[in-house]
């Protein structure tokens, strides 16, 4: 058993091994999903809100849901048994700090700073107001891991995101986890636990990530097809429908721009399911025309998603492995059981 993985899981009293984490997907990973994942023995994350000040209400809701759950109402824990994610380039530090101080989530997951030094600033502020809150940082390259090891405020864990991941990831300098993760494991040399994200949707992927040396496993797309996800039914149906994820998804800024989202640092670009907007964009249709068609279809609601849809369907290449909607708790338990059947050690590589 990897001692790093054991120590990481032990930080979360309700969690069982192997540590299964639901990703902090913006808006779609709300309190219901996060609490359901933690309740099942995983670690649930709440994603960034559209504006940072909405996070206070969201964490209040999570806190209330937590108190209703017998196995999460742990008197010994001073922390909210769910984590929360912030997008550094767009979230507001002062408001985020207030939310962390008030609700003390067990983990804060930091991503996409405008400047790498912002990670230190945010980490210091959160640690000042909530000393038991863990800081996790998500990266997609070895260079970022190297920088974190030398940081003034090194994180408590690093999430290594492979290029199969849905939503925002490295625009062009990322690859999958197969070589990246073990190379990162060798680089950190036991100093810090690594979690694996990107392309994992079932016990096979989770086991594979643990073999490569991860201390825990993060799933995003799989939880979009959970009962508890805050997702439009049309979007969720498309997650179930799409297959051949390596080809049916792509990284492009087009869908951000169609939705009016700008400002992401240039290192990032999101992966999503290809639909008519992208196909017509490739065929040379002007952006203005695409935007017009996009906005018209979005007004019709659910029809904006799907193969004939036009709006953003952020999803990872694992989308082809997601074929039904399940309760988040069942997703966690099935993966944990599958891993236990496959691996001699349930927590990370043992060589």
């Amino acid at each position: 058993m990897s001692s790093l993985a054991t120590k990481l899981t032990a930080r979360f009293q309700w969690a069982s091994s192997p540590l299964i984490v639901s990703a902090p997907m913006r808006v779609m990973a709300g309190p219901a999903l996060a609490v359901a994942v933690s309740r099942a023995g995983g670690l649930g994350f709440i994603g960034p809100t559209i504006k940072t000040n909405e996070m206070l209400a969201v964490l209040k809701e999570a806190s209330a849901l937590t108190r209703k759950s017998t196995n999460l109402a742990l008197p010994a824990s001073k922390n909210l048994p769910v984590g929360v994610g912030f997008q550094l380039w767009s979230d507001d530090l002062e408001t985020a700090t207030q939310a962390v101080e008030k609700y003390k989530p067990c983990v804060v997951w930091l991503y996409a700073p405008k400047d790498v030094k912002d990670l230190d600033t945010w980490s210091r502020r959160f640690r000042d107001v909530s000393s038991e809150t863990q800081i996790w940082v998500q990266v997609g390259t070895l260079a970022e891991v190297r920088a974190l090891l030398k940081a003034a405020q090194p994180p408590d864990a690093i999430v290594i995101q492979g290029s199969e991941a849905g939503g925002h990831g490295r625009a062009s300098d990322g690859l999958g986890l197969f070589s990246l993760l073990p190379e990162a494991v060798d680089l950190v040399a036991g100093r810090i636990p690594l979690l694996a994200a990107g392309g994992i949707a079932d016990a096979r992927g989770a086991s594979a990530a643990l073999c490569l040396g991860a201390s825990g496993v993060v799933l995003g797309t799989r939880f979009l097809a959970s009962t508890e996800a805050k997702i439009n039914p049309g979007y969720q149906r498309e997650i179930i429908r799409a297959d051949d994820g390596a080809v049916s998804t792509t990284r492009t800024l087009l869908y951000n721009h169609l939705r009016g989202v700008t400002g992401w640092p240039k290192e990032y670009s999101p992966r999503g399911v290809i639909n008519r907007s992208f196909i017509e964009h490739q065929a040379g249709t002007s952006f203005d025309e695409l935007k017009k068609r996009h906005d018209e279809l979005v007004r019709l609601g659910e029809k904006a998603w799907g193969p004939d849809g036009r709006t953003a369907t952020y999803a990872g290449a694992s989308v082809g492995l997601v074929r039904n909607v399940k309760d988040a708790g069942d997703i966690v338990r099935e993966i944990q059981e599958g891993v236990r059947r496959m691996l001699r050690h349930e927590e990370g590589a043992k060589l």
Copy 2:
């Protein structure tokens, strides 16, 4: 234990579980490497030769080496205990058929046809002249797997190559094994065994691939750093030196063109370690100037490779995990032992 994996390994009397395969790397995977891998209980492949008619001499040498090895001189086996790879677009079918008829390699590995129907033609010819020779086909997309399942001459196994792989792979529509491999496993639904290639360099990667559902594991770059590889010492040193494989390698046709290699079907492009040729190409130096600098340096021998080198250093993203030269047999044995320590079942996923 996966019955597919068990059956696949059982086809090769000398092989032990899990099945570890050395890739048929063009020229560099010669008889010495292939025989050393099979002798250690793996399955060694001889790569394509520069001209197909050289394959007869190469297989003769492999045959002689085999007879010197006690554990490979198996009277019950009518087949040469090594496999051989052909590049369909460049190799000559008549000559290849003569070689297969005369030496009856246990497997022929087919790759990169100009037209997908050529796979049927080549498979039929080889099966006609050597009924016990297995046909393996290497692909990088789900669409290719789908086509193979419907082929007139379906292969005996399919090698799924993830985008981390070195040398030639899918130019633009490939991704890593994390989602691609389990999606392919679900698609073939037990009808045919799959092998995993791309980004695997040690027991961690091998175990991960088996968890994802592979029945065997293929390594290329790791065997470039073996005692038995037919490789220039400068090239081999660069394999050992290079790290951060996700960033230090890239797919580009530039190195093919600098070496005067043209004709690969447009679906393919090779991954190699970035050196001065690529950096200067990115900076805008003309091809003619790059070619001149390349050819001058190549005349100096070993110096043509390395960070200040200019010639093709085909390698996978796993290059950062390869840190020393080892005997091929030790590579096979260490991986097999590592997998056995990690997995409850040594042969493919068991869910």
